[in-house]
């Protein structure tokens, strides 16, 4: 890879992808957990997750859990490959 992934490179999206990639077995993370990890506002977090979903890097699931609406995001196979390639590119810059 000789260029950064422009979708992942944005700071908040990078944090979201890092958190999702760090989940054992690439399990889904709840929106509120992602908010706690990134410290982002609801609106900004929602926008960036949508961008990642449109790129095919994350899968978003909306359902009800204990009678409450729940939104979860899960990194996709394409997202794992893109994130790993982006990290490899960053490391290559450092030699």
């Amino acid at each position: 890879m000789d260029a950064p992934d422009e979708i992942i490179h944005q700071s908040l999206r990078l944090k979201i992808m890092s958190a999702l990639r760090n989940e054992p077995d690439q399990a889904a993370l709840e929106f509120k957990r992602l908010r706690a990890i990134t410290g982002a506002t609801d609106g900004n977090l929602g926008r960036q997750i949508t961008t990642l979903a449109e790129a095919g890097y994350v899968d978003v699931t909306k359902d009800f859990h204990q009678n409450r609406p729940r939104t979860r995001a899960q990194i996709s196979t394409k997202g794992v490959a893109a994130f790993d390639a982006h990290v490899a590119y960053l490391k290559s810059l450092l030699g």
């Binding site: 950064p4 490179h9 700071s11 990078l14 944090k15 979201i16 890092s18 958190a19 760090n22 989940e23 054992p24 077995d25 399990a27 993370l29 957990r33 706690a36 990890i37 990134t38 990290v87 960053l90 490391k91 810059l93 450092l94």
Partner: protein
């Protein structure tokens, strides 16, 4: 993109990973804290009836806590079955062995001393675990240890009750908070 920017991005990645791991640890550890909070309350409250009942109350409560912890370890998602059970058993066994060894060496005979020892050991274990898995667990251990020491020096005649109930409430509330993390 230059090296400085790459370094900052890698720092962001590492920070997000650490935060994510800490929050996962909080959520997974919360249920164990709730269980052991109940153990503390039952053990402490049973001591109010009589020293003999208190001694067997603690034993029964601790045994129930161990069984519940093993069952939770088995049922947790991605638990890994025998591996987790082995680690839980080993952790419990180590704590029990250390507790018995200290009791023998220091010739601990009274319920009050035994309760203090158990409480301080558990508080120390949480603090040590918290250093690796998240500051909130460390703070919880510190709070539990502080309750034990304050009760030991200033509330000697109500020690078991204070440690049992206050420690149990701290554990349960913290467990609930951690599970919401």
């Amino acid at each position: 993109m230059d090296q400085k920017e790459a370094l900052r991005a890698l720092d962001d990645i590492q920070g997000a990973k650490e935060r994510s791991s800490a929050l996962r640890g909080y959520a997974a550890g919360g249920i164990y804290m709730i269980v052991w909070g109940c153990v503390w309350i039952v053990g402490g409250a049973s001591g109010l009836l009589s020293p003999e009942i208190g001694r067997s109350g603690w034993n029964v409560a601790v045994l129930a806590g161990i069984v519940a912890s093993i069952a939770i370890g088995f049922r947790s998602p991605g638990a890994g079955g025998k591996d987790v059970m082995g680690k839980v058993m080993l952790t419990m066994g180590t704590m029990a062995a250390v507790s018995v060894a200290i009791s023998v060496v220091l010739n601990i005979g009274s319920l009050r001393e035994a309760t203090a020892l158990q409480t301080i050991l558990v508080a120390g274990a949480y603090m040590a675990f918290g250093i690796w898995r998240g500051a909130r667990i460390f703070v919880l251990g510190l709070a539990l240890g502080a309750v034990a020491l304050v009760a030991w020096f200033f509330l000697a005649d109500k020690f078991e009750m204070v440690v049992g109930i206050a420690g149990g409430v701290i554990l349960i509330l913290s467990g609930i908070l951690l599970r919401r993390a």
